[in-house]
């Protein structure tokens, strides 16, 4: 005997299948989208590599990154000054921003009164959202003269003020609001129970912060610093305005420098007459891309080690 499904059963069956269909479609769609974003990164890397292939064919990789002469007209492309410029400015900015934002976040979450937080949090969001050109202007108007008129003379040096130091300070100040709000987020996610457990044993507030709060949020702290470093590495406008843009590897804080993003932004457009010049700038972009990528991958490995608590 053949049993035909009743209309109700048919509709039910349809909806059941429809439900699973939706589930399947959603799953596939999400997979495709994630794969696309991954593909985007890969295609960027490949694109930059292909674009910089001409200069890599003409010069060896090692000579490109170790040579110091930058004379595009004479076919001399040494990236060492730019790499060093980026490294100096980034390291300085992070070294400057990290302790300050860490202490600020600790103060705001663990020590301050709630009303202070109510005023500071929106302020931080505003600061984090300001366009970087404003920080550049602020640096040129305040930090650069401060360095040329006070800092350099007091060290009995003369300086235009457009220096590694200026770049580091401006980038550091830019990174602080981002870092502080990330840190605050992390610290407030540490359950109050942990703090109380330590306090109940007689720990001081500072001991609680050191042993519990920081330890508990260590993976997040690392991720936040990686994000800040990646952004600092790629920051363009502000460094372009305060670093002096001199293609010489800086020897100290009071020397001018020329970070890679500034190099690309300053010269892209006027290099059309020289085919190798464009390729050189693409190679600069490729270096930046590669450094950020390696840095992020490396941090993943570190994160895997510290997340066990």
């Amino acid at each position: 005997m053949i049993v035909f499904p009743t209309p109700v059963q048919t509709t039910l069956l349809f909806y059941m299948n429809y439900r699973y269909l939706k589930d399947k479609v959603a799953g596939h769609l999400m997979f495709v989208l994630s794969a696309l974003s991954l593909l985007l990164v890969v295609s960027m890397g490949v694109g930059l590599y292909l674009k910089s292939a001409p200069i890599l064919a003409d010069h060896s990789l090692w000579s490109l990154i170790s040579a110091s002469e930058w004379k595009p007209m004479k076919n001399e492309f040494g990236f060492f000054p730019f790499i060093m410029g980026t490294a100096w400015v980034t390291v300085l900015a992070v070294a400057f921003a990290l302790p300050i934002s860490l202490l600020m976040a600790v103060f705001l979450t663990e020590y301050s009164r709630p009303w202070l937080r109510r005023y500071v949090f929106p302020l931080l969001d505003i600061l984090a959202g300001l366009p970087s050109v404003i920080y550049g202007v602020w640096g040129t108007l305040l930090i650069v003269p401060w360095i040329s008129e006070f800092v350099a003379p007091s060290l009995s040096r003369s300086s235009s003020g457009y220096t590694v130091l200026a770049g580091g300070i401006v980038l550091g100040v830019m990174a602080i609001p981002l870092l502080v709000s990330l840190f605050i987020e992390l610290f407030s996610n540490v359950s109050q129970d942990f703090r109380e457990a330590a306090l109940a044993l007689g720990a001081t507030r500072w001991q609680t912060v050191k042993h519990i709060v920081l330890r508990k949020s260590l993976p997040g702290l690392i991720a936040a610093v990686v994000l800040a470093v990646s952004r600092t590495l790629g920051e363009t406008i502000a460094v372009l305005m305060v670093c002096g843009n001199l293609a010489v590897a800086p020897g100290g804080l009071l020397d001018a420098c020329y970070p890679i993003p500034a190099l690309i932004a300053n010269n892209y457009g006027e290099m059309l007459s020289l085919p190798l010049y464009e390729s050189a700038l693409m190679f600069a972009a490729f270096i930046l891309f590669f450094v950020v990528l390696v840095f992020n991958l490396f941090s993943r490995i570190v994160l895997r080690k510290v997340t066990q608590y």
Partner: protein, 287 residues
Amino acid sequence: MSIATTFSWSLRHAFARPTWTLTEPFAVERKFPRPSDVRLAVDNLNLYINDAHILKNVSVSIPQNKITCIIGPSGCGKSTLLRTLNRLVDTNEGIKISGNVNFGTQDIISAKGSDITEIRRNIGLVPQRPCPLPMSIYDNVAYGCRIHGIRKKAKLDVIVRHYLEAVGLWEEVKSRLNAPANGLSIGQQQRLCLARSLAVEPSYLLADESTSALDPISSKKIEELFVKLKENYSIVMVTHTLRQALRIADYVIFMYLGEVIEQGPANEVFNNPQHSLTKNYLSGAFS
């Protein structure tokens, strides 16, 4: 005693890893000075959180070397009272306190700075929800001693083992002392928290429903432990299990809506409650 025996004894102490069992009462030498006066008394305590009156005219004195059980319906302020005793209420926003809480000659409510940490060491609180610190099992027990200045590995080894054995956790965790403590089961975490609190040698142990996460056998073990501990410690425990209070309490405090309704020796309160609220509440246990 001959010189040879003395010699062999000291040798054994130097080399053998000391082992303790529960039958041997707390033989770890005292690490922290014991305050001369350890009476704990609450007098006319009123506590407000954001203008809500949480504790109303609470006056109790906690007997020493006894188990005091605080009973009462949920939300009546038992945890808040315990948290006031070791100043953990400081972490709440908008708190207002009046009245006296005295630990010996010291006023707990007006204590400042290092007095607070010393009070918290002396009046240990085991939280209602077990909360292992984000470290290894070993470090959890050693943490309290470390922050109070004991850092020698050999000494800490002894302490850790001793207190883990005291709470009956040693056998279960001895092979993974360096594993993260949050991998333990809830019941094991509860006992770990207990060991952690005991390790700083408090005079009072405030246990907030320490057995609520445990199976009957483990909670019996904890009860036995408490009974043993009262030789050296005064224990205040909050419990919702009236049978448990019946079994081990020496002194009972019954709270209701922020007030202490009745307090007294356990057999008096249980067998002959004076207040009708107490009668009603207790009738749950005997019916």
